[in-house]
Symmetry: C3
Subunit: 133 residues, 3 copies
């Protein structure tokens, strides 16, 4: 973790580059630090996945709407303040990315952060060692 | 919210129009009212996303099965009775949509409603104003 | 249930057959038994869906990384020991499947099991009868 999944209406693919958004949000996750300046999310566990929905429906169907839902799942245990700061910073990136779209069409954006409550958790990775001192 | 995500086996795309199902379910969400007749879900926050899985496995692999999983995530706080009524009404729509498929092939359908327990929740939308009085 | 969803970076599609992984994991789910040898997951409710993300970002973007996230949602009520055994067995299958990829490139794999806390749960299926005695 952190695991960020983006569900979005496929009508946005012609309006914006979602790959750029993925990279921007991963960078922002990596930039988060605690009050002592220590990075709070492990680089090797940071990933963002964006999925266009080819079939979708938004609102009452009478307006040509787009929608983006971003869900960040993090491991349990971080302080309320750090979670809020992370959410605020990600939202700033999201708003900046979609500003041209927002001024051109109907679009809804929702960003949520969930704390995982998994019963089982296993990792198998050769990415983490890249980031060890 | 409400946020409805449909995971389904891609072998259904030739058998039914999932875009029609998305619209039907969004309409049903918008039709839900409380005991005083007031709409319980905000139109501007209502969206349905359907995702065909190109890679999948169902049951023991010995029967040519299809599967549809529908997960509705709603904001916390609605009464048990309203959640149940919403689920029952959506299920009725789902059953009606898939009736021809159900009589023609092996298919499993599961519909669940989860209440979000997010630690962070932000909205940025120009859809909501369309539905304000 | 059980409902296993796999999010993965699309750069893996040229390196491995995710359909084979789906079948392997469904088989492993079906092979789980309790201490008396009774199967713990219903075959008719077992499904695995794998979704390649065409847009993604992993770690700091400076290494060509792949990622696989597997999330198994099960119904509430199984013992901690059975959940752990199920997770361990699935992880073994996942590691075996990705061993050639793991030795050839940077890849992170995370497997988690969540217990559903749904407020509403409905099933409509003609698969279950196939597995009744």
């Amino acid at each position: 973790m952190p695991h960020l999944v983006i569900h979005y209406t496929a009508n946005l693919d012609s309006a914006t580059d979602m790959g750029v958004l993925c990279r921007s949000l991963a960078d922002e996750i990596l930039a988060q630090t605690d009050e002592t300046g220590v990075q709070i999310f492990p680089p090797g566990g940071t990933r963002v996945f964006a999925y266009p929905a080819s079939h979708f429906a938004v609102a009452d169907g009478q307006h040509d709407c787009a929608f983006v839902y971003l869900n960040l799942r993090i491991a349990a245990g971080r302080s309320e303040a750090l979670v809020k700061k992370t959410g605020d910073n990600l939202l700033m990136r999201v708003k900046a990315h979609f500003a041209p779209v927002f001024s051109a069409r109907h679009i809804g954006i929702t960003l949520q952060i969930d704390e995982g409550r998994e019963l089982f958790d296993a990792k198998h990775s050769n990415i983490h060692p890249l980031f060890e001192p």
